[in-house]
């Protein structure tokens, strides 16, 4: 049986019992040993004393050689039960008288020893004592004891000790088996409670505390732990329930969101569809609107010129108003078209490298008339070496044009300055600053500046004109080129617009070309073929052909027109014109295909082609070999300038003379 696996009750009982018994045994044994040792020395002393007396008393008998008297003396020792032998030796060592205990075997007698001596040998005490009379030694007395009393006492004491130990052990067992409950009872109770908790999982059970010792504290700790577990159990249960509810809610939410998402996707598809429809509509509308506008502006210009020479003055004024309104409407349509393209994400960048300074000079030249209209001074300040930039030149031009024309528009009798600066650094950037001394803006106005149709106020539009889209478009363009545009202004003190652009604009995806519905071809040939610089006009719009013919003839060009791409190609091969103007958007065969065929025909490849279209694809056009790219409605000054470059050399003088006439 392993002592360690005993129950705690038995352990405690055993502990107390063994400890007390051990203590009793040890103390009793030490007492016994002490007593027996002491008793033996007492016995030894007693015997020595006895020997002295007997020696004294038997001295006279020995002196008178009275053996009988000596024997009588020794016989007195019979009373001493443990005395085995008493012997009187004469001085020569022979036995004079002796006494042996009755019933005991005759002991072996030792040789006499002189003087006084007591010794313990083989369970016997032996004593020698001189027998002498008045200082004269007569012999020796020898006494031998078998320590009978000592043995008896030892036996008795041992017996008592055994009984005592047994009794005290019994008592210790009795007492400890009762006392151990003080310790074991609370522990057993605690164990019972723990078993109930672990078997039944009943955390409501509490151990009963009966003492306030360590066990009591243990029970307190146990109860506290149980309370804590119970508390956590409940909290866990609550949290679990909460979680279930939440999960359910989440599932509902997910189902709901999925449904919403589907609806949203449908809505998005619908919206995209609508947007596409809107974009197509806008593009078509712009095209459809611009075509008649071209006719209105073109004819009114021709009419105005003709009327200026001969007609009444008021007609000229009216015609100019028609022209102004038409041009305004045209710019409005152009802006709306740009915006719709931007919004539809179809506005693409056509990047090329160009000299900045020449562009700026061109801008100043272009805007000089507008500046003069309000008696403003327009000046250009280029700081340092501005060099070239890689960007969409059309858009840069449009932005600067917008800023400068705005400045001129809102300034009277003042100065409009265009500052340009290059700031090379980690990012090579160009800064264009347009400063005027005009009416300026309030902070409120500045905030709304880049919104659609935002002008300083509604009265501004009436007074200064403009669509209110120019700055918004400029800002969009600037952002497309990773640039920035911002303004500082004080009402009444002028404004400063700063355009910031990277010197090298990162390329973007090319814009897909758009198709337009076909219209029946119209072929019209101008038969007048003078030996001047010949221009072949290819356009499906009869009014454009007519306008171009009239305009170009005024500039002393021989004009031949073709109503379709195929006809244009045929005529080009036939007459080998000096310059070709080509419309892009045409039925059956569009301008791009015509351009490709022209450039792939060795006979025709060298003929410069000026693309004239409502679709702004200058980069694409130039890439495919077009010499110039003009956007409808045609700015006659730009057209004249473009044509002039390709005029026959032998006619240059004449053209110069002509332009000089104007």
């Amino acid at each position: 049986m392993n002592l360690r696996n005993l129950s705690i009750e038995r352990k405690l009982t055993l502990l107390a019992m063994l400890t007390s018994t051990l203590a009793v045994v040890l103390s009793s044994a030490s007492f016994l040993i002490y007593d027996l040792v002491t008793f033996r020395s007492i016995l030894s002393q007693d015997l020595a004393t006895e020997a002295q007396i007997v020696a004294y008393n038997s001295a006279a008998a020995m002196a008178f050689n009275d053996e009988a008297a000596a024997t009588v003396q020794l016989s007195a020792l019979t009373a001493k039960q443990d005395l085995v032998a008493a012997v009187l030796y004469k001085s020569d060592g022979t036995v004079f008288a002796h006494y042996y205990r009755a019933g005991s075997p005759k002991p072996e007698l030792p040789a006499p020893v002189e003087g006084r001596e007591a010794r313990v040998a083989s369970g016997h005490i032996e004593v020698f004592n001189d027998v002498s009379l008045r200082g004269e030694r007569l012999g020796t007395l020898f006494l031998q004891s078998d320590m009978q009393r000592w043995n008896t006492r030892a036996r008795q004491y041992a017996g008592i000790l055994v009984i005592f130990v047994l009794l005290s052990g019994l008592l210790a067992w009795f007492v400890s088996s009762r006392m151990q409950r003080l310790v074991s009872r609370p522990i057993l109770d605690l164990e019972q409670a723990m078993r109930i908790v672990s078997v039944d999982k009943n955390y409501g059970v509490r151990a009963v505390k009966t003492t306030s010792d360590e066990t009591g504290r243990l029970i307190d700790g146990f109860n506290t732990m149980l309370a804590e577990i119970q508390h956590r159990d409940k909290a866990l249960q609550r949290a679990n329930n909460d979680l279930k509810t939440r999960t359910q809610e989440l599932e509902d939410e997910i189902v709901h969101r999925k449904r919403t998402q589907e609806e949203l996707l449908k809505a998005k598809d619908a919206a995209e569809e609508a947007s596409r429809a809107k974009s197509a509509f806008l593009a078509n509308m712009s095209h459809e609107l611009r075509t008649p506008l071209n006719a209105i502006i073109g004819y009114s210009e021709i009419l105005e010129e003709e009327t200026r020479d001969s007609g009444p003055a008021e007609n000229v004024r009216d015609l100019r108003r028609i022209q102004g309104a038409g041009k305004h409407l045209l710019s409005l349509i152009n802006d709306v078209l740009d915006l719709s393209k931007i919004e539809a994400g179809k506005m693409a960048l056509h990047l090329e490298t160009f000299e900045v300074e020449s562009l700026l000079e061109e801008m100043i030249t272009t805007l000089q008339p507008a500046a003069e209209r309000n008696a403003n001074r327009l000046q250009l300040r280029v700081h340092g070496d501005i060099g070239s930039m890689h960007a969409d030149i059309t858009k840069v031009r449009q932005i600067l044009f917008n800023l400068l024309s705005n400045a001129c528009k809102f300034t009277e009798n003042g100065t409009v300055t265009l500052d340009a600066e290059r700031q090379p650094g980690s990012e090579d950037r160009l800064y264009f600053r347009v400063t005027d001394t005009g009416i300026g803006m309030t902070p409120q106005q500045q905030r709304n500046l880049f919104q659609y149709f935002a002008q300083a106020d509604s009265s501004t539009a009436r007074k200064y004109g403009g669509t209110g889209l120019g700055l918004a478009i400029s800002q969009r363009f600037t952002h497309m080129m990773r640039g920035d545009i911002h303004v500082t202004s004080h009402s009444g003190q002028g404004s400063t617009f700063t355009l910031e652009l990277p010197a090298k604009v990162a390329p973007e995806a090319a814009e897909p070309s758009s198709e337009l519905p076909a219209s029946p071809p119209v072929v019209e040939t101008l038969s007048d073929l003078p030996a001047r610089t010949t221009v072949l006009v290819i356009d499906d719009d009869v009014s454009v052909r007519d306008l171009m013919s009239r305009f170009l003839e005024k500039l002393d060009y021989r004009v031949i027109s073709a109503p379709s791409g195929l006809e244009g190609l045929r005529l080009a091969r036939e007459i080998q014109p000096d310059i070709i103007t080509l419309d892009v958007v045409m039925p059956q065969m569009n301008g791009w295909d015509v351009l490709d065929q022209l450039k792939s025909d060795p006979a025709l490849a060298s003929i410069p082609v000026i693309m004239i279209t409502v679709v702004d694809h200058e980069a694409l056009g130039l890439e495919r070999g077009a010499s110039n790219y003009l956007v409808k409605p045609i700015d006659r000054d730009r057209l004249a300038e473009a044509l002039d470059r390709h005029r026959r050399p032998d006619e240059d003088s004449m053209a110069l003379a002509l332009s000089g006439d104007r």
């Binding site: 004294y56 008393n57 001295a59 006279a60 008998a61 002196a63 008178f64 050689n65 009275d66 008297a69 004469k90 001085s91 020569d92 009379l133 008045r134 004269e136």
Partner: protein
């Protein structure tokens, strides 16, 4: 007689250190008897105490022998060189006519031949605290202190008159008394 002779021989051996062996030159039973008696006298001297006045320190113990010069010679040999309490023995031979008073004896041995002077001896004994030892068997009964007699078993015995000893201011050891036949003075 043979047994007696053997015992004597044994006794003689025991006393060899104390008694001169020249006594054997006497060669007779008488001389053996003298030798034993001399031993007795010596032993008596050890077991009797005198009053303080009678035994000044350093003074020898004088033993007077009355009526037997042979014995005196044997005794003289026997006690030669012996001491009791650092006092030596001196043996004086006393003639029948010699006055007892002046002998200075502490022990007086009276031979059987001097029994006639018993009364005088007893008087002297009482007056001078003298231990009297006589060979007359009735000596103790008559008022003497010790009577030495030869018993039927040829063994020398002695009788002590404790009254007489007390009268003579002598203290006799109980150890001696246990060995003796105690008698009282006849009235």
């Amino acid at each position: 007689m043979k047994a007696f002779a053997l015992r004597l021989a044994v006794f003689a051996l025991m006393m060899a250190a104390a008694v001169d062996v020249r006594a054997q030159n006497l060669g007779s039973t008488e001389s053996s008897e003298h030798l034993i008696k001399a031993g007795y006298v010596y032993n008596f001297a050890k077991l009797v105490e005198w009053p303080a006045w009678a035994t000044p320190k350093g003074q020898p113990i004088v033993i007077g022998v009355l009526g037997n010069d042979d014995f005196a010679a044997v005794l003289s040999h026997a006690v030669d060189g012996k001491k009791v309490d650092d006092r030596v023995f001196v043996v004086k031979r006393l003639k029948s006519r010699d006055p007892l008073k002046d002998c200075g004896c502490r022990i007086l041995f009276v031979a059987a031949s001097e029994s006639a002077r018993t009364d005088e001896i007893i008087q002297f004994q009482n007056a001078s605290s003298v231990l009297t030892i006589a060979e007359a068997p009735d000596f103790a009964k008559r008022g003497g202190i010790i009577a030495l007699t030869l018993g039927e078993d040829s063994k020398i015995r002695f009788a002590i008159n404790v009254d007489a000893a007390a009268q003579a201011s002598l203290t006799i050891s109980s150890r001696l008394l246990t060995l003796a036949t105690i008698v009282h003075t006849a009235r």
